[in-house]
Amino acid sequence: MIGLLIVSHSGQAAAGIREIALEMGGEEETIAAVGGDPDGGIGTSIDEIREALADLLEETDGVVMLVDLGSAVMNAETAIEMVESEAVVIADAPVLEGALNAAASATSPKATVESVRESAEDAADISKL
């Protein structure tokens, strides 16, 4: 089982994207979302990301992260270094579309961190018009 962690500058945005992603499949405990800085403002908290990763790693064989942009990406990278797990990757994908693709692909019994990351990254090619 592969877990997903959605990270956004806004806790509400992250929770909303998680809600949509859960529609595609997956279980409550394998898709997590964090957002907001340590004071609850716009930003991200490395400690929160790290805790969410540690929780997911207890339930799953690996985690694919979907992050919004800028400092959220840097904080995600720093958190990965701190949990010292090889089984966590960041998908280079749009956060919402990538999360939907990843959630669908993570339900496959053969899913791996790599296969879920690839599905998430395929979302970069989604055309809307």
Binding site: P38, I46, G70, S71, M74, T78
Partner: protein
């Protein structure tokens, strides 16, 4: 620098001076950031350094300089919330291992280089992107050359590094941002001083000022930067 206790003292004072300076300049930094970013640089850094000061108060008296720098880094990483956390804090954490045997001319060069390397890697930024890299890169290069090639005393090397950082900050004014939130503005980001490069300069100035108090060199050092005018960024 002399014995362990004195190094510790100097380091703790430098950190306190940096924290005070960030507090004094938080509005200025936020104003710079509101022109081209998301207006949180001053507040974020200030929150981080306030937490650093609290953390250092709780720390054991026998913590060595490596441990102190690592703690500063970890606290910034946990508390800042924006890009400055992983950039300043993460780089300090990684580079702190270079100070294992204390602060010497040699280990300070190694620290500076390790800091820069981590910073560039984490931020994926190069000189000319209008980021803190524009201030730190010339500072680190100048420091290294001054120590290793020109055999200057560390205090003089540091003064030259601060001077280089200052020119790096000025260099960010006329260029267009290609990293960070400011890059979304395209050409409209030109004409503004980069807040990250500016906070880097403030920190280096305070480190120089503290080093000047502790290293009894005969170098005449002016830690303030006369060419940075004290002005607010222009409104868009």
């Amino acid at each position: 620098m002399g014995d362990e206790t004195r190094q510790r003292e100097a380091l703790l004072e430098a950190i306190e001076n940096v924290a005070d300076r960030i507090d004094e300049e938080k509005t200025h930094l936020t104003d710079l950031d509101s022109a081209i970013g998301d207006a949180d640089h001053g507040a974020n850094l200030n929150r981080g350094f306030k937490a650093v000061m609290d953390k250092l108060e709780e720390m054991d008296d026998d913590a060595d300089v490596q441990e102190i720098v690592k703690t500063v880094g970890m606290t910034l990483v946990s508390e800042v919330g924006g890009a400055a956390g992983p950039l300043y804090g993460g780089s300090a954490m990684t580079a702190s291992t270079e100070l294992e045997d204390g602060i010497t001319a040699e280990s300070s060069v190694a620290f500076a280089e390790a800091f820069l390397e981590k910073l560039q890697d984490r931020g994926d930024a190069r000189v000319g992107d209008k980021t803190m890299v524009d201030a730190i890169t010339p500072a680190v290069h100048t420091y290294k050359k001054s120590i290793e090639q020109d055999d200057l005393p560390p205090l003089e090397a540091l003064a030259k590094a601060v001077d280089a950082a200052e020119r790096g900050v000025e260099f960010t004014v006329p260029i267009r941002a290609s990293k960070g939130r400011a890059s979304f503005l395209g050409w409209r980001s030109t004409g503004h001083r980069d807040p990250g490069a500016t906070s880097t300069l403030f920190m280096l100035e305070e480190i120089l000022d503290t080093a000047d108090d502790y290293l009894e060199g005969d170098t005449d050092v002016d830690a303030t930067s006369p060419t940075i005018p004290d002005e607010e960024p222009e409104e868009e």
